[in-house]
Amino acid sequence: MNKAFTGEHLLPGHLGQFFVILSFGGALLSTLSYYFATVNKNPADRSWHSMGRWGFYINSLSIIGVGVCLFYILYNHYFEYHYAWSYTSKDLPVYYLVSGFWNGQEGGFLLWTFWQAVLGNILIWKAKSWEKPVMTIVSFSQLWLASMLLGIELFGAKIGSSPFLLLRKAIEAPIFSQPNYLSFIKDGQGMNPLLQNYWMVIHPPTLFLGLASVVVPFAYAVAGLWQKKYKEWVVPAIPYALFACMILGTGVVMGSLWAYESLNFGGFWAWDPVENASIFPWLIMVGGLHVLIVYKNSGHSYFTGVFLVLVSFIMVLYQSFLARSGILGETSVHSFVDNGLFWHLVAFILVFLGLVIYLVVTRYKEMPISKKDEETYSREFWMFVGAIFLGLSCFHLVLVTSIPVWNRMFGTKVAPPTDLVGHYNIIQASFAMVITLLTGFSQFLKYKKTDTAKFFISTLVYLLVALLITVPVDYFSGLYKLHLVFQLVMLGAVYSLLVNGKVLIDAFKGKFKLAGSAVAHIGFGLMLAGAIVAAGTRGLVSVNESGTIAIAGFDKSAQGNKISGDSRENVMIYKNEPVKMGDYMVTYAGDSTAEPNHFYKIDYRRYDSKGKMIESFELKPKVQLNDRMGMTSSPDTRHYLTHDLYTHITALPQPKQPAGTDAQAAADHGDENNDKNYDPPIAHEIAVGDTIRFREGYMVLRGLKKETAIQNIPLLANDVAIGAKIDIVSNNKNYTAEPVYMIRGKNVFDFSRNVDDAGLKLRLTKIIPADNKVEITVYQQPENKRPWVVMRALDFPFINLLWSGTLIMILGFLLSIFRRNKEVKVV
């Protein structure tokens, strides 16, 4: 430490670390002050209150300071900082430097605490009489998040992890004993190519805003119980709950859009533990939101509402633990490895869990729990049932996703189900079916009491219509081949669409208040329908064997012992050799490089029955070849209104040569060394106009010409050089080549020509003046030496329903926020 190192920029790090500690201090001051302001019964004494505010302002400004320092370091490529070195490199464009910002765990926490600070400031502005207790909780949560960034050692335990850690402190290596070690570190590690996608610029901020916003309804619930204002907290909490649901849902779907566009597992949802964890809080919050509305309108289900809202925040903490503690190592593809924060994260959960349990236990007796049962034919009852099913759906996800946690807690060694995707699909679809049906028929019910006869008639009529629509949909989409439960989800989704469509029409006729929920339900129904059809009837385009392939996780025997990966989804294609796949003629037409990306041009053509081309386009899936991360492949997708054609490269010939060195050099110098890449040569004696046939086509000798110059080699006066002009047709593509024969003094040279795209090398090896013929020697590459790619192409029908459904759902939430916000009259 006492050593002087040259070239380091320590100021931004010191400043950043100062802000980290200041943000912690600010949060601590704010929490304590708000706490005393809340318990202080003297209304004239405002000192605690204003101190709480100041504490929070200090915290907010420090967080911005931390962000600025970190970005300054990333922007200037100060690789003496571990964070900059780990996640960025000099060739990254600025917008990816922004996403490098939240590449690491520390950046994630920073984003989270930033959004929480923004929300806290909104609460200071808006919450009025609720400010003190609510902000106590928000500040307390800020305190924990700030502690995650501290990066200090206390009694041998690691508290937090700082983004300003120096590289030489993060890693032990002999190189750091040299004062000028920085001059050896030319560049950072760079960003994982999969994260270099525009969705990665906006998905994390959205997701973290969603996660952060869950704290607001939670804080209201805690404040309500704490201050014994049991009923009053519900109304102001509802708009925030709606906001949390909206943003969290958007963030999760953005993540699946990223997966769909940038990853290559061939889909938008893989039931990876980290993905599942991100929807725990969403499911619970959506359930809680519905029950809060039930309570507001009927006075029923108070406890369930409080419970779900409280649990939703615990789920936020739990998902953060799952993603960051490294516990999912054996089951998840994209969880972080343990950063030493395992117990810190556990403590974060336990503290808030303890708070929740304490409040629920001590206040339970005083809660306004209605003694009366709900009417069976009332909206509140079935909304409540729906919320319970959302909770059960989350319960199942938590149970399975947490298998590594159970193993760790109980010392067991249980592995997740072997057909994990099938398991999730079927069970979650069962819940989804119930929930969609409920979002439908509960619309026919009124709060308190409903006319049963009318209810049954309209419910059944709509169900019948839904059935009439679902049957052909089922048939034409191919859903009928799947497990029954997916067809029932489709029925539920159609039913929900119809009923909520009717509510929406009524809304336009005057009951505009109801528009928000109707629109959100329509969006949800569309999302489910799109997801089921796109994932369940996904078509494999890249088939080289006839026969249909059961899709993993959706086949009828999903719980059986079938090996799901046994579908042969990859096809090898040679360059310029069209292959028929499904409706398309597919050709690997070439590749281009824009470092660090290698693009492979895959040419798609579709012909009608008469052989006329009706469509032609090119997809360019990309591959990054990287010493550290190996081959990283991203798909390219052709979007249509009703389906998507998705293509990606799954294997390539062995390491690509550095571009542009080999082929030209070999052509110019007649390099014999690469002959081993060809089949044994065949010599043909031909005259001008004659044809030589080869495996993929034919070539014609057009003429012989006396050359006056050969590239790079000046011809001397006595040299004789003859070029043979040859037209080649290979796989219906035309090429020309001109091998040259030269006599200089008593020596004979020949200059071969390569036609790489056709896998040919041609030499003019002899001139036979007597017969007026020449000898052309043809070298042809064996099939496996020719350029090829292995690709996989999938067709996702109606995936646009999923994305548009999401947009519609967001719109529905937004309408509801406006409506519910008007109902808030806080003093």
């Binding site: 290596a173 190189i175 994982n192 319960f395 592995a415 189900p417 042969r568 990859n570 190996g630 990283t632």
Partner: protein, 136 residues
Amino acid sequence: MKKSSIIGLVVIAIGIAVIISIYKGASTYGSFTDARTSQSVLRVVGQLDKQKELYYDAAKDANYFSFYVKDKKGEECKVVFRGTEPQDFQKSEQIVLTGQMVSGEFHASEILMKCPSKYTQDKIDVTEAKAKSASI
């Protein structure tokens, strides 16, 4: 009976059903020996044997990839995967295979790799840096 108790019972029933279905579906982590004796689908945790050949010939079969894995008990077995070589495969420190034994070969339907290098790539570059500093 009150409606809330009925719901409570339904919730408990569904909860139990869910737990049972997980329990029934749950597999175990095992060794190749276990796979040989049980002949059923299970998960094997092991390491890729980097000394032995990784076989993939796209021209012959673009969906056939084979390699050798040593399980935690040290037993080695040939593994066949119907697909292409997964990303980061050769960098993996640990592999979790899901599949079953078919005539002496382990046919994997899923391969999950644990590559700490993906997020903390500290090792590789430092060795590189070491080599550089040694030459000076």
